[in-house]
Symmetry: C2
Subunit: 347 residues, 2 copies
């Protein structure tokens, strides 16, 4: 998507970010005034105060994430849209409708203005796609060699959907575990770039905003959705382990049911990785009441980013705190949390 | 303050932070469960979801800042308490009562667990002092040489004080400009460590939470307080320039009235720096209605961190968008925004 063509880079005095752009002084002001504020403009941001002020009522969700992904431009996206989608999705997992994001940059001296602008434009379009606004921000610059191009923190606020009652304590034996799409795609997209792997077609990151999909599901299924989680770092295996541990239930999953696109599966095999541990960005896990599972799946399959959804397991009374996988050939094994670090700086 | 003695470091398997601690897997979990969650424990954080959920109503403020200060331990504080106080103060400048903070780390591989723990303990005590809670967080680790020990982002939420009506548009000709304390202290504390300067007594950073002081002033003076800003990066000169520009008023300040402690003034002279451009962390500027200025000052002087407060200038109809300083010997000069970068990574 050559969306940056719609937002041509403004005339700037510098070709790269310098320490002065993080001074808080005239260069910081010039950078912001030359195009950043205009690009991301909305009533709250335009106030340019130390924070944004808005009206709120009811149950709110608040989430934060720092993004340190390398490379900053990757197949299927870049760190800018990832930072928007990631926090939008974290809020969605709380059953919230994301509304406002903060945006904070830590830039390594020397980042090209062109790269910075491209990231900003991606942020703008990701915000529009998700229906959220950047309302407050911060820009810091560190010396060459004290950072790595750009790190981005986004924090976000949203109102919890009136029908949402998402909580680990709501898990019941018999609940079904649904994954919203093909797993391990984001991790393998990054890994294949880093390792210089080539496949018939490029594996693209699945980064996307899940909030509209989640909202539709909450509208329809409300409190029958017991838990939502996005299996980012550590993958599906780690998140299911956290859920089993914190809910004190057992979890069974079925390898045959877990959707993985063929190229991703091959790449994982080549590199000796288990897709269950590979990071996702545009996938969520929903744990729902057993008797709505089929209609939940039916609805999800018709929604954005849900066409490959599948029921992959269930909550059981046995083996509390453990995740047990039934393999394709029928064997059973314990699935633990990710040990060590498989793919550093995946998000 | 040897506050870390009250919170002894838990037994950890590692002496330094490794990439695995940012994996989202078992090491991340171990690190958090071994002491971090317990240290910062509160009802919202203890939920350990992707975000925190709480009830809100009315006008809210939302702010963010990433802290990249170097060195991470400095005379008078460390990056942990700075990150809490800084965001608490940004919210206070919006007229808000800070309530909830997010906490996000970007750690360079190899940071000692001891340093990390000391920073965490400082965060805990800074939160208690300010009366805020860490409710959600994130931990990322980057390779050695791709960061610098630790960067911290805090974002914060608070409810706007019912009597607050802080807005750049409220500035009126005749309004008085009050500074809450001695300026340039934080910047010179950092600078003196970096330059290896020695003075009779060590210059300490002024980092502190201003929220209780601001709340008392809002209780007493309400809408007669027109604007609040904290002159951090770029110092008093830069913030006053932003105010003059955005309000389309003129600003006069009087050098004789600006409080600077003697050692800081000497250090500035030695290094050829103007205290007006040096960063502050525990100081705010208040622009108030002229006829309450004296009683505002009187009250502020009795509050925490306000004893050295002074009226330093006024809003005028002339020279719109400009800040004019009357020097100690009576000359007048234009004070511009900070040009270039004086002290990189000051906050």
């Amino acid at each position: 998507m050559k969306i940056e063509l719609q937002c041509p880079m403004p005339q700037l005095d510098f070709e790269v970010i310098t320490l002065g752009h993080g001074s808080g002084g005239i260069l910081t002001n010039k950078l912001l005034e030359s195009g950043v504020f205009k690009l991301l403009s909305n009533d709250l941001l335009d106030e340019k105060h130390d924070g944004a002020v808005f009206n709120a009522s009811g149950k709110m969700a608040f989430s934060t994430d720092s993004y340190v992904i390398s490379p900053i431009f990757f197949p299927g996206g870049n760190i800018g849209e990832l930072a928007v989608n990631g926090t939008v999705n974290d809020l969605s997992m709380c059953g919230a409708i994301p509304a406002y994001l903060s945006l904070s940059f830590i830039i390594e001296e020397g980042l090209s203005m062109k790269d910075f602008w491209q990231i900003l434009v991606s942020i703008k379009f990701a915000c529009e796609r998700a229906g959220v606004q950047i309302v407050t921000g911060d820009t810091k610059v560190v010396e060459k060699g004290k950072g790595d191009k750009i790190f981005i923190n986004t924090s976000g606020i949203g109102t919890v959907h009136p029908k949402a009652e998402i909580h680990i304590k709501r898990l019941e034996v018999g609940d079904k575990i649904i994954v919203s799409g093909n797993i391990a795609t984001h991790g393998m997209a990054i890994m294949s770039v880093r390792e210089g792997l080539e496949f018939e077609s490029t594996i693209l990151s699945d980064t996307c905003p899940l909030n509209h999909t989640i909202k539709s599901l909450l509208d329809e299924f409300g409190t029958d959705i017991h838990l939502l989680r996005d299996p980012t770092r550590g993958g599906v295996a780690t998140v299911l382990n956290e859920i089993a541990r914190d809910s004190k239930t057992g979890i069974n999953i079925h390898q045959k049911a877990i959707p993985v696109i063929e190229e991703v599966a091959s790449a994982c095999e080549l590199l000796g990785l288990d897709p269950l541990y590979v990071a996702n960005e545009g996938v969520f896990l929903a744990i729902v009441k057993a008797d709505i599972a089929d209609s939940f799946l039916h609805s999800l399959k018709k929604l954005d980013f849900g066409k490959d959804a599948a029921i992959i397991g269930e909550v059981v009374a046995e083996h509390q705190g453990q995740v047990i996988l039934t393999s394709k050939i029928g064997g059973k094994r314990v699935v633990n949390m990710l040990v060590g670090e498989q793919l550093p700086r995946i998000c």
